[in-house]
């Protein structure tokens, strides 16, 4: 006790020395940490339940009081799951999501930057059109879109699954909002140095947008990975199914095999989480200010 008391004393002195807001902030910190931890557990629970449920039998999965941890873990669910072309489905999901991600990041970065930083006729109109399009429910355009894909012969192809999604304007909107934080002085300086538009985009704008592009990459990947409904309508054959669709085929009309569903859900979610955890750090750093210094 004695050893730490000086430190403690010092802190208290500091606290007393500082204005009132500092003490308030400490209280705020304690409360906020508690709320943070509790809500974190709350958010973690569904995933925890999915992953553990994948190793439970049908009986155990839905008993009350709940079995908080699988006491007799079984692999049956996974055996049933892997009797199906799960690898092919995973590949499809991954391929479609990656292709969409790359394309969306590219077209959004260029368009978002221009919309934020350039003045040209039609700018406002284009921006309003983008927002208006986002407002329209995707389900409404699905039928005309599908007719189009059928005419193009793109039903049940990777093209049909990937290309239409590139047009969705969320990415442009996000990129525009973030491009606005790029200081104009930087761009002007580049211009004075005789830097061409394309060069200054790649050498100045892109590095500064990097974290935002990273975030957009994650969002696009996730959106595509979980885009159950469009994929349902566009795919036909078992070979073209994505993971969520494939897993849904295992569900009966009047029965749900919880264990297998959970195994499938775990399989569909865990790769996402790993990718997210690995790369989010570099994706989501400070956006601009850090790089000006």
């Amino acid at each position: 006790m004695k050893a730490i008391s000086p430190v403690k004393m010092k802190k208290e002195n500091d606290g007393r020395g500082r204005p009132k807001w500092f003490r308030d902030l400490s209280a705020f910190k304690i409360i906020s940490t508690i709320i943070l931890v509790l809500s974190g557990l709350f958010f973690l629970f569904p995933l925890y339940w999915i992953v553990t449920g994948a190793f439970k039998s049908q009986v155990v999965a839905i008993t009350i009081p709940p079995e908080w941890f699988p006491l007799n873990p079984i692999l049956d669910n996974w055996v049933i799951l892997f009797n199906n072309p799960v690898w092919r489905w995973t590949f499809n999901s991954f391929f479609i999501a990656s292709a969409e991600m790359i394309a969306v990041c590219f077209v959004s970065a260029t368009a978002g930057f221009v919309l934020a930083k350039k003045v040209f006729p039609g700018r406002k109109l284009i921006f309003i059109a983008l927002i208006a399009a986002m407002a329209l429910p995707k389900q409404v355009i699905l039928v005309p879109l599908f007719t189009m894909l059928a005419d193009l012969g793109w039903v049940d192809t990777y093209k049909g699954l990937i290309i239409p999604a590139i047009g969705w304007p969320f990415g442009v909107f996000l990129m525009k909002q973030f491009s606005q934080t790029i200081p104009n002085e930087l761009l002007e300086a580049a211009k004075i140095d005789g830097c061409g538009e394309i060069r200054s985009f790649f050498h100045i704008v892109l590095p500064m947008l990097k974290p935002a592009i990273g975030a957009l990459a994650i969002f696009t990947f996730m959106l595509s990975w979980n885009d159950y409904f469009s994929q349902l309508v566009i795919t036909r054959s078992t070979d073209m199914m994505t993971l969520p669709l494939g897993i849904a085929t295992m569900q009966g009309e009047y029965k749900t095999d919880y264990g297998v569903m959970m195994a499938g859900a775990a399989l569909a979610s865990v790769p996402m989480i790993i990718i997210f955890m690995l790369f989010q750090k570099s994706f989501t750093q400070g956006i601009t200010m850090g790089s000006i210094k």
Partner: protein
């Protein structure tokens, strides 16, 4: 900073390379397919034909692999018909109907579909299907009960080739009644197992008293799925029809029908029905039964019994029962019916090939019976009996005499059923009296029938 930057670039690089590689692969695959499609007609002239078969999981999956059993059928079929190529695409109950609607609206419907009358007859009325009358000679027609034929036809035209059937009824956990020593309360000693509402109530109360942990019975009204169960239950409890004889008007809002629904509401109040029925789906309700937590299930059949077998989490004997009626007279059971239909995609050769496939699935000497057993259903033909062992199948065959004409083929039925479960919810949650709820249902449904009739 440096490290994360490198990692970022690495990730983008990997993702890019991988997707380029994959893109290359998929290009290859695409080209290969194209090659195939150009090769096939070249080698076997104009004789060969390619058809698409969309199937719901009607057959039990082999080794848990979706579509494996169907591939077996197709392989055998193509061996006998080398000039026909069948592409199988599996549908899901969750999402399959939506996919069909989009496909039909955009002229990309399949050639063959194995489904139930609800949707098939609707398509038949809209002139989307090819008639199958030439597949149904007199001796076949006379071998199928009129109630099932009514379900397969529009006017004089047959649009669905009926295959597997079985009456929908209820089921009881017999083991539970043995344990509480009240087996006498069930009508199992009577050959046709018919019973009265009063006897049923006694059985429910016995469960409530002697096995308080077990919910006596269930009900569900969350969605349209399994509505034959709630329909059959209420119509029999009250002794009413759902629609009138010629399907021109709703009949369930009659005094008898109201009595049926009132019974359910009263039983809910008395704690004889699982709470929360308004948010339970047919499947949730069946789960409760299969987990041994509920004594009676109201949506059951021989087909479902065999389908559910692997999902039973308690070891108990599930026994089929007809719905009780007020006076113990014969119940009226709606049949489950599965059958195949051919979309008229304006290509006679495809239609002919599709009919061959249907004929093979249902009537092939080797595969027909095997396929039937894989569905767990009884044959739609009266002459085909005794393909299963066991008292429940015997009973199921006996109960075929109780089969009635279900309302699923009425005009505008697809829309009518969307009014049914909200009406049940109103009654169960007691925001309306059963009479008000059913009257409101009748009003909406009658308007729909009229609209659908006048649109014809």
């Amino acid at each position: 900073m440096q490290g994360s930057k490198r990692r970022f670039i690495l990730f983008i690089a990997i993702a890019f390379v991988v997707s380029m590689f994959l893109a290359a692969c998929s290009e290859d695959a695409g080209e290969k397919e194209k090659d195939d499609s150009t090769k096939v007609p070249a080698s076997s002239d104009a004789k060969s034909v390619e058809i698409t078969w969309w199937n719901f999981p009607n057959f039990q999956a082999l080794d848990g692999e979706v579509g494996k059993y169907e591939e077996g059928i197709i392989a055998a079929f193509q061996e006998k018909n080398p000039d026909i190529k069948v592409n199988l695409e599996m549908l899901t109950f969750e999402g399959g109907p939506e996919k069909l609607n989009v496909a039909i609206a955009t002229n990309t419907a399949p050639d063959v579909i194995y489904d139930a009358p609800g949707r098939i007859i609707d398509w038949g009325k809209k002139d989307l299907l090819a008639p199958l009358n030439d597949m149904m000679p007199e001796e076949v027609m006379s071998d199928i009960s009129p109630a099932l034929l009514k379900l397969s036809m529009v006017g004089e035209e047959v649009f669905m080739y009926p295959f597997n059937t079985g009456p929908f009824m209820m089921a009881v956990n017999k083991t539970l009644f043995e344990e509480i020593g009240e087996l006498d309360l069930l009508p199992l000693d009577r050959p046709d197992r018919t019973w009265t509402v009063e006897e049923y109530e006694k059985a429910l109360n016995a469960v409530k008293e002697k096995a308080p942990d077990i919910i006596p019975s269930g009900f569900y009204a969350k969605s349209v799925a399994g509505d034959q169960g709630t329909r059959g239950y209420i119509t029999n409890l009250g002794g009413s029809r759902f629609l009138n004889e010629d399907y021109s008007e709703v009949a369930i809002n009659s005094a008898a029908g109201v009595k049926g629904l009132e019974w359910v509401v009263q039983a809910s109040r008395d704690g004889l029905v699982a709470p929360g029925a308004a948010s339970l789906e047919a499947g949730d309700h069946n789960d409760l039964f299969l987990q041994g937590k509920m004594a009676f299930a109201i949506n059951y059949s021989a087909v479902l019994k065999s389908l559910f077998a692997p999902n039973k989490t308690e070891d108990f004997e599930d026994v089929l029962l007809p719905y009780p009626t007020p006076d113990g007279s014969d119940p009226k059971l709606e049949p489950f019916l599965g059958g195949l239909a051919v979309f008229n995609n304006e290509d006679d050769k495809k239609v002919e090939a599709s009919k061959k496939l249907i004929d093979f699935i249902v009537n092939d000497p080797e595969w027909g019976e095997k396929n039937l057993i894989q569905t767990g259903g009884l044959s739609a033909r009266n002459s085909v009996t005794g393909i299963y062992e066991g008292s429940e199948y015997d009973y199921s065959e006996l109960a075929r005499k109780f089969i009635t004409d279900p309302p699923t083929t009425a005009d505008g039925y697809a829309e009518i059923r969307t009014f049914w479960f909200p009406a049940l919810q109103e009654a169960i949650l007691e925001t309306k009296t059963p009479k008000e709820a059913l009257d409101e249902f009748a009003e909406k449904a009658n308007a729909t029938i009229e609209k659908a009739k006048s649109a014809k």
